[in-house]
Amino acid sequence: MAIGIVKVKRNVKMTFWERSYIPEVLRGIAITSRHFFINLVGFIPAILFGKERKIFTVYYPEERVKYPDAYRGRPILVLGDDGVEKCVACGLCERICPAFCISIQPAETELDKERYPETFTIDQSRCIVCGFCEEVCPKEAILMSQDTEIADYDRKKMLYRKEDLLVAEKDLRMRQAYVRGAFARWNY
């Protein structure tokens, strides 16, 4: 196919003021400059008078944005209030995982739950944070966290073992409530 130039018809109707060009350019520069200066000195009234800051930019990593509960960060395992992980190593997350990043070795325990994961490994370099594991879990034992900082220089360090994955249940109430609401129509 020969390469040709296609003239695109743009349906843009500009007023005389806009077509005169210069004033609109100046208006654009003014907007950008205003944001620049607010960001530059905007923290001063917040510090001095305790006023609420009007700017959006935060001083990462000292300051962080609170993500909504629906946000999916890296998956974590829930450590129950009794100090035992909720997971029973049923293997459904391992089965559903489209990236094959979960591997579990089940074993028997004397506790009432009978079964527990001897090892539970998530290969974070493979994980695509789709949230299927959370959705399929019958025990609410795996949840998506707010943690996004998983980058590392070594792939081996991105293998998260059970000890790295466990998070206390009390820190996860919000996400738990969200999950219960989101999947409520499947809970029977």
């Binding site: 049923c90 739950k113 079964r115």
Partner: protein, 527 residues
């Protein structure tokens, strides 16, 4: 022969056949818990209800004989409603254990719940509490809550293993499966009850919680533990065997297998497997590459004048090898070496009148058929061992270690020390392999293709399920390579080609080929 209609399909079945059997034979699915082809009919689960026209009520398919002009509906609205009802009753007291239960994935209750059940439970009362997770035998764990009282295990122990230690005690919803006091579910076939249990009530201690069944791939093969040749499925994940399951073959093992055979999978992955060719260097054995080991053997077989003198060489084959390997071994010893001193040893042990046979090797019948015995004035095993001290036998080539289980094995071991040259080809380290000048690592039955001939002359296929560990190779490949080094090439791409060769040479096997064997075996007139 009654002809009747089932789901608008015209079927002819033998007189006395039940509707369920006729339907299953013709590929029509009727759900059932308590019915098992090889057990008597109990009719207690009520899951196989079907509608037969002109009958006033629904009837159970497993205990209704077919008759002429019968019209059966297996999936009519009336039947589906009844089945949903039965499922609800089955699930009233069934705990919601699926995430923990080891049967999940191969559980009848789970499957039928998806196919025929209702999604919501209407049961608001307290569920019945019973004992959970306790041992009722050497190999078996029982969960009373999960049991749906189909009584398959009771019938199995009464009719098949004929031990009768299991029974149903009490009545109504208090009834439970129990063991007569002072006994345990400890018969030689007890693990079959975990296979036939449609739910997760009876589970195997050995397999419990090892791996989820849906991750396993199944390879059809033959149990290597005795000469009965029970048909099995090898269940593998990530190149590791997790269990053997029996496979139906009505000519050999019906649907059963013994505990010993079932638990023998551990041998394949044991720590004492040979993984590299070893040669003797002083008191030690050091690992070498295949080419080096084979060259040393070729040199060892030759005398000082550089020629092979067959009269001083003996070969002891293995009843664990396949037919193809036995055939190659015989040909190698006779034609490449030029000796008639060929024999094999079989370990004998416990036997019963069901499946367990006396010979504790998979293929003694095949070894006989491949004429792995002394002929034309050759020596047998006892003569060969005796001949070591008199100097008649100077070099031995031994496959397998069954020799060591014979009587006076220590004496045999001592006399082997007087040999000029000893080659041992085996799967595991043993006292025999420690004596050898060259050790060749070979593959177990699960790591190669081939055929076994069982005690009744049925030739059956084994298939490769896992990779051999390290450098080890199947016996046929080792013999074929060694033969090439010895200047007598016998090159084959697969055991199938060797079988074609066997068919030409051995009259009893003239009709045998891999296609004809299939997965149910091929009967030959064995010697």
């Amino acid at each position: 022969m009654p002809t009747f209609i089932i789901d608008n399909k015209k079927i002819t079945a033998d007189k006395g056949t039940t509707i369920l059997k006729a339907a299953l034979d013709n590929g029509i699915k009727i759900p059932h818990f308590c019915y098992h082809e090889k057990l008597s009919i109990d009719g207690c689960c009520r899951m196989c209800l079907v509608e037969v026209e002109k009958m006033p009520k629904l009837t159970i398919a497993c205990n209704t004989h077919v008759a002429d002009d019968m019209v059966v509906h297996t999936h009519s609205p009336k039947v589906m409603k009844a089945r949903a009802g039965v499922m609800e009753f089955q699930l009233i007291n069934h705990p919601l254990d699926c995430p923990v239960c080891d049967q999940a994935g191969e559980c009848r209750l789970q499957e039928y719940c998806f196919d025929y059940g209702v999604p919501h439970s209407r049961f608001r009362e307290e569920k019945r509490k019973k004992r959970k997770r306790f041992s009722i035998g050497e190999h078996i764990v029982f969960d009373e809550e999960r049991c749906i009282l189909c009584r398959r295990c009771v019938r199995f122990c009464r009719e098949v293993s004929k031990t009768g230690e299991v029974a149903v005690f009490n009545r109504g919803d208090r009834s439970y499966i129990g063991i007569y006091s002072g006994r345990g579910l400890n018969n030689k076939y007890s693990l079959c009850t975990t296979d036939i249990c449609p739910v997760g009530a009876l589970t195997s201690k050995d397999f419990r919680f090892k791996v989820r069944v849906w991750f396993l791939t199944e390879t059809e093969s033959i149990c290597p533990e005795c000469s009965n040749g029970c048909n099995i499925k090898i269940c593998v994940r990530n190149n590791k065997i997790y269990r053997y399951l029996p496979r139906q073959n009505d000519n050999v093992n019906d649907t059963w297998m013994c505990n010993q055979g079932r638990l023998s999978y551990k041998n394949v992955h044991s720590d004492d497997r040979l993984t590299q060719p070893l040669i003797r260097s002083g008191d030690k054995q050091v690992p070498v590459k295949w080419d080096e080991a084979l060259a040393i053997i070729a040199k060892g077989f030759k005398g000082r004048d550089g020629k092979v003198d067959g009269s001083h060489i003996g070969g002891i084959g293995s009843p664990h090898s396949t037919n193809e390997e036995g055939f190659l071994f015989r040909r190698f010893m006779r034609d490449a070496i030029g000796t008639n001193n060929i024999d094999f040893a079989v370990i004998k042990g416990y036997k019963d009148d069901m499946l367990i046979k006396e010979e504790k090797a998979a293929n003694p019948g095949g070894a006989k058929d491949m004429t792995l015995w002394p002929s034309n004035g050759g020596h047998g095993i006892s003569d060969m061992i005796g001949g070591i001290s008199t100097g008649d036998v100077k070099i031995l080539y031994i496959i397998g270690r069954d020799l060591m289980e014979l009587e006076k094995s220590e004496k045999i071991l001592d006399s082997l020390g007087n040999l000029d040259f000893l080659v041992v080809q085996d799967t595991h380290v043993s006292d025999l392999s420690r004596k050898a000048d060259v050790v060749l690592p070979s593959a177990t039955f699960a790591e190669k293709d081939g055929t076994f001939t069982n005690i009744n002359g049925i030739v059956q296929r084994i298939r490769k399920a896992v990779d051999p560990p390290g450098d080890s190779l199947p016996d046929w490949e080792i013999i074929s390579r060694l033969s090439k080094v010895m200047g007598y090439p016998m090159e084959y791409n697969s055991p199938e080609e060797i079988m074609d060769e066997i068919a030409k040479e051995i009259p009893a096997y003239k009709d045998v080929n891999y296609k004809g064997i299939g997965n149910q075996g091929f009967k030959v007139n064995s010697s």
